[in-house]
Amino acid sequence: MTPSLYLWLLPLFPLAGFAINGILGRRLPKAAVSAVALLFPAAAFVQVLWIVARAHQGLALPYLERFATPWIAVTGFHANFSFLLDQLTLVMLLVVTGVGLVIHLYSVGYMAAEDGYWRFFSYMNLFLFFMLTLVLAANFLLMFVGWEGVGLVSYLLIGFYYTKDSAANAGKKAFIVNRIGDFGFLLAMFLLIAHFGTLSFREVFANISAHPDLQGGFLTAIALLLLLGATGKSAQIPLYVWLPDAMEGPTPVSALIHAATMVTAGVYMLARAHVLFGRSPLALAIVAIIGAATAFFAATIGVLQTDIKRVLAYSTISQLGYMFLACGVAAYSMGIFHLVTHAFFKALLFLAAGSVIHALGGEQDMRKMGGLRKKLPVTFWTMTAAVFAISGLFPFAGFFSKDAILAATFETPGEKILWAVGLVTAGLTSFYMFRLWYMTFFGSPRYDESSAGHGEHGPHGVHESPWAMLLPLVILGILSLAGGWIGWPAALGGHDWIAHFLDPVFTSASNAQLVVPSAADFRLERILAGVSMLVALFGWWLADLMYRRKPQLADSAEQKTRPLYTPIWNKYWVDEMYGAVIVRPILALSRNLLGRGVETGIIDGANTAMTATASGASSGIRRMQSGNIRSYAGWLAAGAAAVLIVALYLSHSF
């Protein structure tokens, strides 16, 4: 019997932090709140390191830990309360606790002046609890528990600045859009229960593996429904709309939840369910197409955004698209690899952006920045590492993972178009990231020196952030540079370490990946790497041209490409479309169905257009809720008549 790893402790650490800060935080001094908030995630991180050490000493993976057997047992299926540890989980654990801890540290500095300090940290710890549950879960049900939980905390944290109306609405939007994804996830679970009678990863996948003849059919249905869930959580087409709005939350939240961890849960889920997807080529193809399309689509929007956090939001969507693309071509370990490097550099980008915003007293518009290179040196240099990483410049982290995905796509038969899309997106990425870089740190200052800086810092104006914020920047900066080396490809003289590490998890699915590469393959890979490097450099050159050397060029380009520019500037009117096609009809139905007691002005935005449609139509149905008892009795009688008629009709038809 394998010795216990005490996995159950892992999520309990942050839960304890949540409980302490949530219950007592209001009365505790700030220092104590910070100590609690840092200590418990740190403890979790230490335990993860301990587990890594144990794994290194030859602990047999996968390792399963059960707590309540059976947790739920009903006719037809049962589920255990159990945690599963394999290489994939281990990687995720490291990212979640490691990056999580760093961002917690950063938040101590960033949120220092905010109201509700304790509230913020209790939510953050709660988030870690749910995220760890999600990652550790050994069955779909428990995974869903974490899945919903992180969504809930995300909702709470997006709406953290509750005095802002837009923040509360953004939170709601995130939650509702995710409900659509959850709907898919839940249905997938029901189908799994109906077909396999279990939700345990092991049993379901073993069951599928035991039946080689199972192909497509209901497996495709399940896979597509899971995919719907993943698109919700990971902000992919068609459910990406919530993520840009989610930037209303505090910046550390954007870094932790909406860049590094929660939004990658969808990718994790796809990787976890790879056995299922492996049996459905159709579903896999759709995953790849969604990934490539989202990557490209979001990158184009990112090109024109002026809000620094929104640029990063769209770039997150785009990078998540890469991960989906990787999963879609069955290169799961590449997807997870990109997930890891992305967690490093995207968290860093957000944190550095936060540092800039912090320095400018809350300014997020890049048109009002510029020339900050000298004033914020540490921020500048770390940000530079992140920009280089995301643009895919050698030898930064992003280069290795993005290149691996592109190479895998290229080598998959029939996916050359997706590869081309990915390559163009890489160029776009490089372009808008360097655009951000130049607009923020180069050129002449466009900000208002007197209004910048936090009030209590006195008249110092723009200043570098405190050490609690800079240390995380430096750590993540180093990781953005070196973090990708774990996947240094064999073609470039490395060992492909991460791919080999994850292989035991994915062997059954990625049979094509196990073929020993030949020298020709290596040559091809090197060429591909060179091409993508060139594309990235081209993006850099273009940004350099338009935003540093000849700024007027940007304006003239805008004039010349008006037909292209307008839809992109308006983000393709997707939000408006959803409003018109889904939100308004539902509201109209609700209003017309129940006339009495309905006031306007309840649901944001959709009212003015509503009134016109609502007032004219269907005054007959309106009377349903008149408050008049005779009409109620009338409705009752009518309903009774309807029921009897239906009953009689049915009894005749049988």
Binding site: L186, F190, V643, L644
Partner: protein, 508 residues
């Protein structure tokens, strides 16, 4: 029918089959008599405590019934089995918590509150009796006992205008609906010559006058559909819930519903089990209608009580989804859902009764703005109940829905589950709006003195409910086992009588 004297039955008196009801009645009578002799101005709190003790005794008696072999008594009119015990426990716990919430609610506002306690106890007697009746006339009588009590309770805030209005509306429409139920019973008797559910089941299986039986089932569905506020018989719900005192709404939106659903389960699966093709489409349609109308209605409400009224219509719809599943799983899912729904809804209305005060002047959505700052603990409890109503994991609401929809899909009703899930997606919107009001809207100074301060009994009640919400969500095992044992009693009259309830359930 003459079974009380068979040798196996001599061991215990038939009265043990209705022991919880007897205890409730006696406590009610006691409270009522003492109320009559007490001086008008003296506090009625001791009476409330007596009522609580009586309820506790009834709960204990229900648990004791688990140790009896399942069987009928009083000439085959009542049957105590795991199913009835399950609902006895649910109703008993609802009543217990409601009494705790009410203990201080009327203090200083209304005199003669002893009547209130007595009415709750009598109503609970009726509801409990409903769940263990296997004889339609008995069902009808107990339905009336429970209904009349709730009619009066709805009007218990005598000084306000809305409360009596709610009471009158509930009474008139309720009597109208009950008439349908009675007519359904008459038709059943006409078709099969009996009002005993098992006899009816035989008649249905024999295929006797299908036309008459169809109409009979339709009539009974109408009567019970009114009680559980299923669309299209839901119109009374928002008005009545808005007007009635909040603690009473908590009670009447859960306990009578649980009882009525228990009866519906017994009728649908027990008596009409072989005519499933007749009632399945009806139930299907009503489930979809209720979910949709309830959720769409709640979407635009500004009054929190009205909003929760619509939400209760929707939840009745979710519950009905379980009916479309095949027998044992569907019954267990429906039973479990009543318990889960009871925990969160009684809690929600309890918090409303606390936050909006006796006059219920503060029930609009904007009155809940910034409540989290002024009443952090109450707001947190409310948040738990709302989150459970949304159906977030780790809460009772999630597991209830999960189980119901699993049951539906397993029986091939995937579309119904899809509609239900879509509906619960829409539902998240209005619950979230309330949550956002509480937590994310800047604090406004209250318009009038906010005198709410929690008493120990109230705190205890809320603590019980919050724990129940989490317990049902995280460790639903034991309750599920009981629900499943209850569902198993439906396998037939012969089985039900001979089957021993697994006592091991309690020891696990």
């Amino acid at each position: 029918m003459n079974e009380p004297m068979t040798p196996s039955m001599i061991a215990f008196s038939p009265a043990l089959r209705i022991l919880p009801e007897i205890l409730m009645t006696l406590t009610g009578v006691l409270v009522m008599l003492v109320e009559a002799v007490l001086k008008p101005r003296t506090s009625r709190k001791p009476l409330g405590i007596v009522a609580i003790l009586g309820t506790l005794a009834a709960i204990a008696a229900s648990v004791y019934q688990l140790f009896l072999p399942a069987g009928t008594a009083f000439f085959g009119t009542v049957q105590s089995d795991a199913f009835s015990v399950f609902f006895h426990l649910v109703i008993g716990c609802i009543v217990l918590v409601t009494l705790l919430i009410s203990l201080d609610y009327f203090e200083g506002h209304t005199s003669f509150v002893g009547e209130y306690y007595a009415l709750i106890l009598f109503g609970a007697t009726g509801m409990m009796l409903m769940t263990c009746s296997v004889e339609l006339l008995m069902v009808f009588i107990s339905l009336e006992i429970s209904s009349i009590s709730t009619y009066i309770l709805a009007g218990y805030r005598k000084r306000s205008a809305t409360s009596p209005e709610a009471s009158i509306k509930y009474f008139l429409l309720g009597s109208f609906a009950t008439a349908f139920f009675l007519y359904g019973i008459a038709l059943c008797f006409g078709a099969t010559g009996s009002t005993n559910l098992y006899e009816i089941a035989k008649g249905v299986a024999d295929g006797a006058s299908p036309l008459l039986l169809t109409v009979a089932f339709g009539m009974m569905l109408i009567g019970l559909g009114f009680k559980v506020s299923l669309a299209p018989f839901h119109v009374w719900t928002p008005d009545v819930y808005e007007g009635a005192p909040a603690p009473v709404v908590g009670l009447m939106s859960t306990a009578p519903k649980a009882a009525a659903f228990a009866v519906l389960l017994r009728i649908a699966y027990g008596a009409f089990g072989t005519a499933i093709h007749i009632w399945m489409p009806l139930v299907w349609i009503m489930a979809v209608l209720s979910m949709t109308i309830g959720n769409l209605g709640a979407l635009t409400q500004r009054n929190v009580k009205r909003m929760l009224a619509y939400s209760s219509i929707a939840h009745a719809g979710y519950l009905l989804v379980a009916f479309t599943a095949l027998a044992p799983m569907g019954i267990a899912a429906a039973s479990f859902y009543t318990a889960a729904y009871a925990a969160m809804n009684v809690g929600a209305f309890g918090i409303i009764s606390y936050l909006s005060g006796y006059n219920e002047a503060r029930t609009s959505l904007s009155d809940f703005a910034g409540i989290a700052r002024r009443h952090p603990v109450a707001a947190a409890a409310f948040a738990v109940f709302l989150i459970s109503l949304i159906g977030i994991p780790f809460t009772a609401g999630f597991f209830g829905k999960f189980y119901v929809f699993t049951a539906a899909i397993n029986s091939g009703n995937a579309w119904l589950a899809v509609l239900g899930l879509l509906n619960s997606g829409v539902a998240a919107f209005y619950y979230l709006r309330l949550l956002a009001q509480m937590y994310m809207v800047p604090v406004e100074p209250p318009r009038e003195a906010d005198t709410a301060h929690a008493r120990p009994a109230f705190i205890l009640a809320m603590a019980i409910l919050v724990l129940a919400v989490f317990a049902l969500g995280i460790f639903p095992g034991r309750i599920l086992d009981l629900a499943r044992a209850g569902a198993a009693t439906f396998s037939g009259p012969a089985n039900a009588a001979s089957q021993t309830v697994p006592v091991a359930l309690l020891r696990r």
